[in-house]
Assembly symmetry: C2
Homo-oligomer: 127 residues x 2
DNA sequence: TTTTCATGTAATAATAATAGTTACGAATAG
DNA sequence: CTATTCGTAACTATTATTATTACATGAAAA
């Protein structure tokens, strides 16, 4: 698919698509081609790409809203709070990331397929 | 302490302090008084206030950066992704909140006291 | 009772983070 | 050579958060 097509599907801008996909390309999850017949192609089979791969490819963005805002705060209260909560956040993050590793694009594709079939069946119903 | 004093400590604006503290007051974690000698007071002993109490008092703000942006998306792909990750997020959130419940203000106060003593000792060192 | 101090709150402004847009260069197939 | 299509920089727009201003309300002290 081209960036324009993807942008239409995602209801966003082609440049935004390229920016995001760039990360996935660098990680080898997709490939891109220019010119006629160009666009984006999967770089690996669906079974071999997990949500974790994507998370990593996108630069491991913060998962939590409340990261430690200040890395090494001078404020002793802030230090105490950070110290008390650091482990909890680290553990929760590790758990989430592990779960991301269990979901492949194949998982999603299968679920999508099921939903799509349901969707079509519903449209055929009278009414 | 008054909102002005707290704002100075937190390097923010008194009105911002009042806005935030309002939530804590409604939950009974603090009390406020107007006029002469007014300001903010703890509503309970330090041992009886957990980070979870505060989280709740502040309206249980989103802990994750990626909530399900659309509640019931029409997009079937989005539905599949949400379905695959909902449990993971819910579990991680439950775990975090449980941990918040284990940390009391007394915990933080004790740690702060230790850090403060260290801080003062460091200042007394030659150099 | 008047003055002073403090919170309560609405309305507005400023800031920062994110997303979207424009523009143009580079590569590629026909 | 031309029509595409990505790559990317620069800029604009939008949104969410935070900060500020302004003023009303309440309470203690003079």
């Amino acid at each position: 698919m081209t960036s324009d097509e993807l942008a239409a599907c995602l209801q966003t801008n082609p440049v935004v698509v390229r920016r995001t996909m760039a990360g996935l390309r660098e990680a080898g999850l997709v490939t891109s081609g220019r010119g006629h017949g160009g666009g984006w192609t999967l770089g690996r089979p669906l079974e071999d790409v997990t949500m974790r791969d994507i998370y990593t490819a996108l630069g491991e963005p913060m998962l939590f809203q409340m990261g430690n805002v200040t890395e090494s705060p001078g404020c002793l209260v802030e230090q105490a709070v950070n110290h008390a909560l650091d482990d909890a956040f680290r553990d929760a993050e590790a758990m989430l990331i592990a779960r991301l590793g269990e979901v492949t694009l194949a998982t999603l594709a299968a679920d999508f397929k099921r939903r799509f079939a349901e969707h079509r069946a519903a449209l055929k119903q009278p009414g």
